[in-house]
C-alpha cells in the first residue's frame, strides 16, 4: 500500500516506513539509544530528500523523547536545572544550526555536509563502542572503577552553579557549550544527539549515570522541538505524515526491543549496535566516494 508524503512529494510503501520505524524503534528499545542517527541515514537510503529526512526526524524524536522522559521523571531521574542550562546552549546551537542548514542548502552543499557529518560521527562512535564492548567481553567480571568526577581547569571557570540532583557545583559555561554543540548536530544531522550528550555528561560534567539519560532526553525534547519549528519556518521540510508513520512503527518496535534487550548481555548488545553503526557508516562513505551514476544532478526549481 503506497502512501503519498505531502512535503517530500513522493509516494512510498507504508509498510516499508512502518518496518523502518519498527526496526529502528526495536534497536532503540534494545540498546537504549534514540535511533535518530540510524533512522535519518535509512531515510536517505530509501530516497527521501535529505533536508526532509533531517527535519522530519527531528519531529519524530520529539515523540520518542517525550515517551522516554516520562518514565525517567517518575523515577526522579531528571535534573531539570542541569537540563535547562544545557537547553539554553541547545536552543542557541540548534538555531544557529538551522540557519547554517538553510545557507548550505542554498549553496547546494547540504547533502554533502549532512553525509560527511554522519560518516565522521558514526565512525567514531561505532569504533569506540566496538572497542569497549570487546574489552568488556574480555574481562566481564572485573569491576571497573571510576571516579565520580575529577577536578581540572574546567572547574576554574566563572558562573558557577549548584546542581543539587547531579551533586555538582560547576560553571554553567561548560554545559551551555555542550548544549550548543549538540544542538548544532541535532539541526544538521536530524538526531537527538544523545550519543554525544550522554558521554559528555558523564566524562566532561561528571554527572552521576542515574540522571544522565533522563536529563539528556529532557533537553532533547526542547532542542528537537526548536529544530522542528525552525525547519518548518525556514525550509518547509517537516513532513508530518512521514513523521506520524515512523512514530507508530517506532513506538511498537521500542516496546519489543526493550523486552528482548533484558534477555541479552550488555556487551553483546553494544557490540551488535557498533556493527550496525559501522555498517551504515560504510554505506554512506561508499556513496560519497564511489563514482556517481551521473555527475550531474537536479537541485530543484527556483523562484516558484
Amino acid at each position: 500500500m503506497q502512501i503519498y508524503l505531502p512535503i517530500a512529494e513522493m509516494s512510498v510503501n507504508v509498510f516499508l516506513l512502518l518496518g523502518l520505524g519498527g526496526g529502528v524503534g526495536f534497536l532503540s528499545g534494545l540498546f537504549g539509544v534514540g535511533g535518530g542517527f540510524l533512522m535519518t541515514p535509512l531515510l536517505f537510503f530509501i530516497g527521501i530528500p535529505s533536508p526532509v529526512a533531517v527535519a522530519t526526524e527531528a519531529n519524530q524524536i520529539v515523540a520518542s523523547s517525550v515517551s522516554g522522559v516520562l518514565a525517567h521523571f517518575r523515577r526522579g531521574n531528571v535534573d531539570v536545572k542541569m537540563g535547562t542550562v544545557l537547553l539554553i546552549g541547545g536552543v542557541l546551537g540548534s538555531t544557529f544550526g538551522v540557519w547554517l542548514f538553510t545557507y548550505l542548502k542554498d549553496l547546494g552543499q547540504i547533502d554533502l555536509v549532512i553525509k560527511l557529518s554522519y560518516v565522521v560521527f558514526l565512525s567514531i562512535i561505532g569504533a569506540l563502542m566496538l572497542v569497549e564492548s570487546v574489552r568488556a567481553m574480555q574481562k566481564r567480571k572485573k569491576a571497573v572503577k571510576s571516579k565520580a568526577h575529577y577536578h581540572n581547569w574546567l572547574h576554574g571557570l566563572p558562573f558557577k552553579m549548584r546542581f543539587r540532583k547531579s551533586r555538582l557545583y560547576i560553571s554553567a559555561i561548560l554545559p551551555v557549550a555542550i548544549g550548543f554543540f549538540v544542538g548544532l548536530l541535532a539541526a544538521i544531522m536530524g538526531v537527538g544527539g544523545g550519543f554525544v550528550m550522554v558521554p559528555a555528561m558523564i566524562y566532561l560534567l561528571g554527572m552521576p549515570t542515574s540522571v544522565v539519560v533522563g536529563t539528556s532526553l529532557f533537553q532533547i525534547i526542547f532542542v528537537t522541538a526548536n529544530v522542528t519549528i525552525l525547519q518548518a519556518v525556514n525550509n518547509q521540510t517537516v513532513d508530518v505524515v512521514l513523521a506520524l508513520v515512523l512514530m507508530i512503527g517506532g513506538v511498537i518496535g521500542a516496546q519489543f526491543g526493550a523486552k528482548f534487550g533484558s534477555r541479552m548481555h550488555g556487551e553483546h548488545l553494544r557490540g551488535l549496535l557498533a556493527l550496525i553503526v559501522l555498517g551504515v557508516c560504510a554505506k554512506l562513505t561508499y556513496d560519497l566516494v564511489s563514482v556517481p551514476a551521473d555527475v550531474f544532478s537536479l537541485g530543484g526549481s527556483v523562484g516558484h
Binding site: 500500500m1 503506497q2 502512501i3 503519498y4 505531502p6 512535503i7 512529494e9 513522493m10 509516494s11 519531529n59 519524530q60 520529539v62 515523540a63 520518542s64 523523547s65 517525550v66 515517551s67 522516554g68 516520562l70 518514565a71 547546494g108 552543499q109 547533502d111 554533502l112 560527511l116 525534547i221 522541538a225 522542528t228 519549528i229 525552525l230 525547519q231 518548518a232 519556518v233 518547509q236 517537516v238 508530518v240 505524515v241 513523521a243 506520524l244 512514530m247 507508530i248 513506538v251 521500542a254 516496546q255 560519497l288 566516494v289 563514482v291 556517481p292 551521473d294 555527475v295 550531474f296 544532478s297 537536479l298 537541485g299 530543484g300 526549481s301 527556483v302 523562484g303 516558484h304
Partner: protein, 262 residues
C-alpha cells in the same frame, strides 16, 4: 472602379497601398484560416489529476478525432520553471557539487505520444518551431549563467535526469488510430508529479506540415488531507511547526501511557 471609390472617400491615391493592406488584413481576419479549416477534437479521461493520500501515479487517457488524415503528435507539458543543475567533481576522494547552472523555461513534465516515429513524418523545422521533442525544448541559461560555454552539457544532463525521474517520456507508437480519424493514447504520470496547469498540445501533421492544432488544459492538484498539509506547511509554517510538535508530544505521551498499563 476602385480608384473612384477611393476618391469618393477622399483618400489620396498616394496612400493607396496601406489602405489596401488594411482591407486584406480585414478579409483575413474575417475568413477562417484555410490550412486550419477544421479543428482537432480532443478530450481527456479526467480533466483533473488528483494527488491524494494514496496517490502512486496515474494513467491519463487522451483521445480525439482528427479533422483529416495525417499523423498525430501529442505533447503534455507541465508548468515552466527554472531548474538548478549541479555538477559533481571529485575532491580528496569525495564527490562534491562544484558547478551549477540555472536553466529557465524548463517544463516540469514533458511527455509525448505519436502514432509512429517522429523522424518518419515530422520535418525538423516544424518540430523546432513547436518545440516537439525534448531536444527542441527551448530552455536557456538565466542571465547570470549566460556566458557559460558548456551550458549545453547541463541541458543534456537536465533532460537525462528528468527522464530518469520518469517526468520526461516519449515512445513512438504509443498513440493508436482506430479507423483513420479516431485516435487515443494513454500517458502515465508518476507519483513525483508537480502540481499546476498542464498544457496538452495535439498536432496533426500532413505531408510535413502542421495542418491542425489544439490545446487542452489539464489540472494537477493535491486534494484532501495532502493538499491541506502542504498548504498549511507553506502558508502558516510557524503554526505548522507548533502543531507538528504538539502531535509528536501527544503521540509520545500516549505511547508511554498505553505501554505502562500493559
Amino acid at each position: 472602379m476602385y480608384s473612384r471609390w477611393v476618391a469618393a472617400w477622399g483618400i489620396d491615391m498616394k496612400h493607396r497601398t496601406p489602405f489596401l493592406l488594411f482591407i486584406v488584413a480585414l478579409l483575413m481576419v474575417a475568413q477562417p484560416r484555410p490550412s486550419l479549416a477544421s479543428e482537432i477534437t480532443v478530450d481527456l479521461s479526467d480533466p483533473i489529476v488528483k494527488i491524494t493520500a494514496g496517490f502512486s501515479g496515474t494513467d491519463l487517457l487522451i483521445f480525439g478525432v482528427a479533422p483529416g488524415e495525417g499523423d498525430v503528435v501529442i505533447v503534455v507539458r507541465g508548468p515552466n520553471r527554472s531548474e538548478v543543475v549541479r555538477k559533481k567533481e571529485q575532491i580528496a576522494g569525495v564527490w562534491v557539487n562544484r558547478r551549477q547552472m540555472v536553466l529557465e523555461n524548463v517544463p516540469s513534465v514533458y511527455m509525448m505520444a505519436s502514432n509512429r516515429a517522429l523522424e518518419d513524418f515530422l520535418p525538423g523545422g516544424v518540430a523546432y518551431i513547436h518545440q516537439i521533442g525534448v531536444e527542441n525544448i527551448q530552455m536557456n541559461p538565466t542571465k547570470e549563467y549566460a556566458d557559460v560555454e558548456d551550458w549545453e552539457e547541463f541541458r543534456h544532463a537536465l533532460i537525462r535526469n528528468k527522464e530518469k525521474q520518469n517526468l520526461y517520456k516519449w515512445k513512438p507508437g504509443n498513440l493508436v488510430f482506430q479507423g483513420n480519424r479516431l485516435f487515443r493514447t494513454k500517458i502515465h504520470f508518476p507519483a513525483n508529479l508537480t502540481v499546476g496547469t498542464f498544457g496538452i498540445d495535439t498536432y496533426l501533421i500532413k505531408k510535413g506540415e502542421m495542418v491542425a492544432f489544439e490545446t487542452t488544459l489539464l489540472n494537477v492538484r493535491k486534494f484532501g488531507l495532502e493538499a491541506e498539509v502542504y498548504n498549511f506547511a507553506h502558508r502558516h509554517s510557524f503554526a505548522y511547526g507548533v502543531l507538528a510538535i504538539l502531535v509528536a508530544g501527544l503521540a509520545g505521551w500516549l505511547a508511554n501511557a498505553a505501554f505502562r498499563k500493559a
